[in-house]
Symmetry: C2
Subunit: 101 residues, 2 copies
């Protein structure tokens, strides 16, 4: 545990809902808003806020389009986001390994 | 990612500083306050608050004693805390495995 530094866990990713979004997008690549909401059992408001934080960090892009008359919001993981998520998981793997459990 | 549920990550443990405390204690078993403060580069105030949350959850005990005239605070992981930490790491391992990274 001597080398574990909590700062190595990217705080933007660490928030539980944001972590859920990143985990989902790390395999799916992109998802529309209602799907994320369902998968993560989130409210509109909270999901919007957390997605904005991820967007501000450059980890996702949020695209808006109309499908027919219906607006659709698509969230896509960026290359930078994937890199940051991998770094986060690496830090977490280290924590797990150092815990020896 | 279909089965990942962010609720599976115990929020009491997930907070970064609390996670750092739990990770440290998972190997050390117990530690005095100044050591935790140094290891986790925390302030007195924040560390106290987070330790109290862990104590309220039953994950650590906080003992106070005098060593000579000097008060000493010792934080010790409980069996319940270890169990919760293992469950947390298991959920995190699942997240990592499901991310396929």
């Amino acid at each position: 545990m001597d080398d574990f530094n909590i700062d190595s866990l990217d705080d933007v990713i660490h928030g539980r809902l944001r972590l859920g979004v990143m985990a989902y997008l790390s395999t799916a690549g992109s998802a529309d808003f209602p799907l994320l909401k369902t998968k993560l059992q989130a409210t509109d408001g909270n999901l919007s806020v957390q997605l904005r934080k991820l967007e501000e960090a450059g980890y996702v892009t949020i695209g808006k389009a109309f499908v027919g008359k219906k607006p659709q919001t698509t969230v896509t993981l960026t290359a930078q986001g994937r890199k940051a998520y991998i770094a986060y998981l690496d830090a977490m793997k280290k924590l797990i390994a150092d815990s020896g459990l």
